[in-house]
């Protein structure tokens, strides 16, 4: 360094945390790009048929998935050579590798090893480098990927179940549910999982905290599925005792919290005398919410008996997340499957996953600007119902296996890149999937100008 007068670094991106109150969940505040070293849903199984290649992004890590001989493989979707996404124009010469379409760097699907280079088979780099690989677990019609830091060891990858909600009836004694049957798990036999996933424009934590916020019931009172069922929701639900939340922290199990809704530990609010508002003939649907790392919501007994709704808020960047809504039901016969599918198509998808939860998408987006520059975490003024969110933040801080660094060299790392701006101008918003090259002879952009002769 020169001997010039030292100068202060430029201030960072401007977080103004009150250190004292926030230190207990500082790791959570730092996890703008998500928690790494956890299992996340990547695709529905039917989105990835044999030999198909797809590119996605989770926690600022681009990931390419390919199915070969029925098995799904996941590698970092960024060629070590010049950073090109392998998934942009899939090229596979056999069942055990994927090649980069640009210069032919060919990677082993299982290990990520550079097996060869199409036009340079004797290069010294071959077998001396690799791209990171990600463990995959496919179950119940979902493909899960263990999104890990590059140096996370294979032998310490935990089982998928440690990142899924508690299961019933195994946990029925610990968390009794006398008012509804045991909720099905995605890991159960003969379960059918039906759902959708789509991109939301908010930070993943904002989205996640909305899912189990008991005071947000107010936004749902006019939803069609509520009205058509003649459900009458309370104005709010307040914590009534100090044991209204139970921490889920078993050593090898999932880490999260269970809320004892529809017990005397939570009090439904039926009247607000200040406003002269009251609720008559309370007739709420009975449900219960729990959340576990890395941000998996389970809504038991919702939207109908024998069904559970799972939600994930998978970080894509620090301001986009992939919102997964999945309904799980045990269907032992073909008839049951057909009935579930029919009811999903005609009722649950339009009225619950879209209608009811679209309301939540509005709310999350409405919070985003407040938190986007980091100041919201300091400026928020919380009330007693927010113990759910704060307990979750502390628990997540304690048990998260890793904090994703800000995305580097990936989509969304630079917010105003020319490609992003052009895509937006052309009506494509930043999203989850790779932008594939479909017609190699046509760089199909509107900004082409030809020279008049």
């Amino acid at each position: 360094m020169s001997d010039d007068t030292p100068i202060r670094r430029r201030p960072g991106s401007g977080r103004a945390n009150d250190e004292k109150t926030q230190k207990s969940y500082q790791p959570y505040i730092d996890a703008e790009w998500g928690f790494t070293n956890h299992w996340y849903p990547a695709l529905f199984s039917d989105e990835l048929p044999e030999d198909h290649v797809e590119g996605i992004q989770i926690c600022g890590i681009q990931i390419v998935l390919r199915r070969a001989n029925g098995k799904v493989f996941a590698l970092k979707d960024q060629c070590i050579h010049r950073g090109v996404r392998l998934s942009a124009k899939p090229m596979c010469f056999n069942k055990s590798t994927i090649s980069c379409w640009y210069h032919g760097f060919t990677f082993n699907l299982e290990t990520g090893n550079l097996d060869t280079i199409v036009g340079n088979p004797d290069d010294p780099l071959i077998n001396n480098t690799k791209i990171p690989s990600y463990p995959v677990h496919e179950v119940g019609g979902l493909i899960f990927v263990f999104v890990r830091d590059d140096d996370f060891p294979d032998e310490e990858v935990p089982p998928l179940e440690s990142d899924l909600p508690v299961r019933f009836p195994n946990s029925s004694e610990e968390f009794p549910h006398p008012l509804w049957p045991a909720a099905p798990s995605i890991m159960d036999e003969n379960v059918v999982a039906l759902g959708i996933h789509r991109t939301g424009e908010a930070n993943w934590r904002i989205a996640c905290e909305n899912g189990f916020d008991n005071a947000h019931i107010l936004i749902h009172k006019d939803n069609t599925i509520v009205q058509v069922n003649n459900w009458v929701l309370p104005l709010g639900i307040r914590p009534a005792t100090d044991d209204c939340i139970t921490l889920i922290e078993d050593e090898d199990g999932p880490k999260g919290l269970m809320q004892w809704l529809f017990t005397d530990r939570w009090e439904p609010i039926l009247e607000n005398p200040t406003l002269g508002v009251s609720v008559d003939g309370l007739n709420s649907r009975l449900y219960r919410t729990s959340v576990v790392l890395p941000g998996v919501l389970l809504v038991e007994n919702w939207p109908e008996e024998h069904i559970a709704q799972y939600e994930w808020y998978v970080p894509i960047t620090d301001d986009t997340y992939e919102y997964w809504e999945v309904l799980v039901r045990k269907c032992d016969t073909d008839t049951e499957r057909e009935e579930f599918q029919y009811r999903y198509n005609t009722v649950f998808q339009p009225l619950a996953l879209r209608g009811f939860n679209d309301c939540d998408l509005h709310a999350r987006e409405a919070m985003q600007d407040f938190y986007a520059d980091g100041t919201g975490w300091t400026d928020e003024q919380l009330v007693d119902t927010d113990i759910s969110a704060i307990t979750w933040r502390k628990l997540a801080s304690r048990h998260a296996r890793g904090i994703a660094p800000p995305g580097k060299g990936v989509q969304g790392g630079i917010k105003a890149s020319s490609i992003r701006l052009r895509d937006i101008t052309e009506g494509r918003s930043p999203g989850y999937y790779v932008d594939k090259i479909t017609d190699i002879n046509n760089f199909n952009r509107t900004s082409v100008k030809s020279r008049k002769t």
Binding site: P124, N128, K394
Partner: protein, 337 residues
Amino acid sequence: MPIAVYKFNDGVSHDLEVQADETLLEAAIRAGIPVRHQCRSGSCLSCICTTENDGVVMRPKTATSLLPSDISAGQRLACQAFLAKNDTVFFDYASDPKAPQTVKAFVNTAERVSDDVVRLELELADGYWLDFTAGQYVNMSPPGTAESRSYSMSSIPSELPKLEFFVRLLDFGLMSDYLRNQVKPDDIMTLEGPHGRFAIHSEALNPMLFIAGGTGLSPILSLIRQARRRKGRKPSMLLSFGCATSTRLFATETLELLEELTPTLTSKISIDDGSSDDYYSGNPISALLDSDITSDMSAYICGPPGMVASAHQYLTGLGVESGNIFYEQFTPTTESS
């Protein structure tokens, strides 16, 4: 066999016999000499070096990214270069990226956290960096003096550009006088380092024991903060930390928080004079039970020499292998003026 001298810009050099059929890079890798490299095919220029003589020849009839003028100026690529006769090759970078250097840092905060301890937070000035390993120390000079004292970071590399220290105030002394009377935010400190071999010695999952006396907690905190960031499962960690009196005790809130965020960490806090019921009475060794100690532990000890010696004796007596006990001794600098 001819000998190549690999010289780096920090003055370090290695003499190595290079076989006729191996490149200078292959020989360096074989011998563990830190020559930067990537493509190994003459393209990327990572392994560029210079030579003043004609002992180093490039692979014949092989295209590389060196221009003819580069070659005549003495530039070579180690991955495509062979040694024809004894020669010296020069690499224009330090042989050890963590080699000590001198950097400038601003004071962010300096707060008295007990009767005789100041918590000092610094931030490296623009353009400076300090590549260190958790547990190491620097020589620190307050503004306006070239004299320095040694202090271990309690922070970890991932918290850079911020650095945290717990500094013990002596009755008088260079740093003590400065911290007691003069320090203010935005003061500029000079740091020289990093130094020291006190560091986490194993990535294995076996249990870790930490024993800290007084500001010996500083590097121990750094080690614990680093250990809890281990990829994969976290090792079980036990910290025994002690101070002379309850008014000299510090960092209890920091430890509480660290425990909160680290399910596998437990701590025992002791004070020598037994003046508080909240803590163990005695020193950080007497606070330990024999049952706390297992022979598969790695132990990390930092504090005054007497404490380090008795901790060592205590642990080896309980079957902890000497090779798994690591320590750093803190002794105050004797003031000459």
